[in-house]
């Protein structure tokens, strides 16, 4: 999963905040619940202690201490109710001590006397205390002569609290999980059109500017996004179209005057009466006219390829055969520079397409390779099958291409080194023609190179089906 994607980040933040809120809320609930439960229990104990103190201790003079014991047993039956009751005199003598509770949650005789320090105070006072042992909550009422301690086990309270804690510990992560997965689904659903728009836009920008993004009339931000993207694509298409049309029109318009110019100059140049100087000037004029016509023809060819007028012919042919014969036809070019051209062609690599255009690709690539390989170098033409593709590689051990020029190699009028290329002719259109032909034939071309270590141009074209 892409951790930088919008949906991932949204959900992560959402989950984090939710967990924080839940944890804070849970702790607060636990703290308040505990406080509330304990104080409620303590209130009850204190009230009970007061009752005992009021009714029984007040009548101790009349009935005697033994009677108190009996009455407490009868009225409060501490042993049955798991209560703790202790009555002590001011001398520290224990007048009454309840028996052990049935659940054995505390041992009455082990419970330290609560609030001893305050015992010598005059009058009646109340105290609520959680015993340090933690097992008994106690309410104390003390008078001048007696002190009544009433307590109860903390077990029920603790149990309630631990159940709530358990509930929170299980419920909280589950809640977060449910909320997060729900959030994830929601975010995914909300962002799905964005992904679709992105894919489609990529597709359009690469291949067909005439297409548009689907607009969902949902009235939301995405509708606005797709509409504005569509407007942008429309303007882009317009710009590209008009620039293509301009190139096509301009090169077409230039063609006729150039032909006339050329014809006139040629007939002038063949006039034998000319002075040598004039003849030379005419010659160099003609060379420039030639160069111009060549550029114009290349541009015209490119705009025809762009317009899709290219795939007139679709025949099956052997790529290896085509490359071998083309290399033979150009052998003198290589020989002239003492370059060895080697052909390593797998047999029966059959592709389908426009044979003469494919030949143009081979011619341009091989010519380039010979041009930019120094005397005595090597050029290797390799034709092979790779899966469902035919692959043609033109490898040279020439000057190579600087890394920063590589991405521009197939751009129109691009030259690695202006001065170098100009003297060797060419307007920087050869490779863009190669690229355009390949694109029109469903082939791909790319280049790898090391400066000083030669270059490798690679054309990949699907093999003809059923071979």
């Amino acid at each position: 999963m892409n951790t930088r994607s919008l949906s991932f980040r949204l959900v992560t933040w959402y989950a984090g905040v939710l967990t924080l809120v839940f944890v804070v809320l849970g702790s607060l609930t636990l703290i308040f619940l505990r406080h509330y439960l304990e104080s409620a229990v303590l209130d009850t104990q204190a009230r009970r202690a007061r009752q005992i103190a009021d009714t029984l201790i007040a009548s101790v003079d009349r009935t005697g201490e033994q009677a108190i014991t009996r009455e407490v047993d009868e009225l409060y039956s501490p042993a049955v109710n798991d209560r703790f009751i202790r009555i002590t005199t001011d001398t520290g003598r224990v007048l009454y001590l309840s028996g052990a509770p049935r659940d054995g949650s505390f041992v009455p005789s082990d419970i330290p006397t609560a609030g001893m320090a305050s015992f010598d105070r005059q009058g009646v006072f109340e105290r609520k205390e959680r015993m340090p042992s933690g097992s008994v909550l106690i309410g104390v009422v003390a008078s001048r002569r007696y002190r009544v301690e009433v307590g109860v086990s903390t077990q029920p309270t603790d149990e309630t609290l631990s159940q709530v804690l358990l509930l929170l510990a299980v419920g909280l992560p589950m809640g977060v999980l449910i909320a997060v997965s729900g959030g994830f689904v929601l975010v995914r659903r909300a962002l799905k059109p964005v992904n679709r728009i992105a894919h489609k836009a990529e597709d359009i920008s690469q291949h067909k500017l005439s297409e548009r993004l689907p607009v969902v009339h949902s009235g939301d931000e995405l509708e606005r996004l797709s509409i504005s993207l569509n407007n942008m694509i429309a303007r882009l298409e317009d710009a590209v179209q008009s620039s293509k049309r301009f190139v096509a029109d301009a090169s077409h318009e230039l063609r006729t005057p150039l032909t006339v110019l050329r014809g006139e100059l040629e007939s002038l140049a063949q006039d034998a009466q000319l002075k040598v100087n004039t003849r030379e000037s005419l010659g160099s004029l003609l060379e420039e006219v030639d160069r111009l016509s060549e550029i114009v023809e290349s541009l015209l060819a490119l705009s025809r390829l762009d317009a899709g007028e290219a795939s007139a012919e679709r025949v099956r042919f052997d790529l290896g055969g085509l490359v071998t014969t083309t290399a033979e036809q150009m052998s003198l070019l290589a020989e002239d520079k003492n370059i060895r051209v080697e052909c390593d062609a797998a047999r029966n690599v059959i592709v389908e397409g426009d044979r003469s255009r494919m030949k143009q690709v081979v011619v341009n690539l091989l010519d380039n390779a010979i041009k930019y390989t120094p005397n005595g170098g090597n050029v290797l033409l390799r034709i092979a099958r790779e899966g469902d593709n035919a692959v043609l590689e033109v490898v040279d051990n020439g000057v190579g291409i600087p890394a920063d020029a590589l991405p521009h190699m197939f751009k129109r009028f691009f030259r690695v080194d202006d001065s170098r290329s100009r003297e060797q002719g060419g307007a920087g259109l050869g490779l863009s023609i190669v690229k355009s032909i390949c694109a029109a034939q469903g082939a791909e071309v790319d280049v790898t190179s090391r400066p000083g270590g030669g270059s490798c141009f690679r054309v990949r074209q699907p093999l003809a089906r059923g071979v």
Partner: protein, 101 residues
């Protein structure tokens, strides 16, 4: 049989002789020479030569003509005192004297 000066081009057997001496040519060199010899005196542009001897795919690759003409010259002209292959700068190549002259 085509004759230009002391050059003989036999179109049937594709043999080339100059001053009675046989000259060995590669198929492309022969095609180029035959094209020039068919219209002695006429000057052909590189584009015309390419279209006739090679094919359209080689257009724009004008130095291929120069290279082949140079090789042809070294075989046909260099060993002999009179030069037959003529260069008209900016225009192209021709065989024999200009028809205009």
């Amino acid at each position: 049989m085509l004759r230009v000066g002391d050059l003989e081009v036999d179109r049937l057997s594709q043999h080339v002789k100059r001053a009675g001496r046989k000259i060995e040519l590669t198929p492309k060199e022969y095609a180029l020479l035959e094209y020039l010899a068919a219209n002695p005196g006429r000057v052909f542009s590189r584009t015309m030569i390419i279209e006739h001897v090679w094919d359209q795919s080689f257009e724009g690759l004008t130095n291929i003509v120069d290279v082949y003409v140079r090789h042809l010259r070294s075989k046909v002209d260099d060993p002999f005192p009179t030069k037959l292959i003529r260069t008209v700068r900016g225009v192209g190549y021709g065989l024999g004297e200009s028809t205009d002259a």
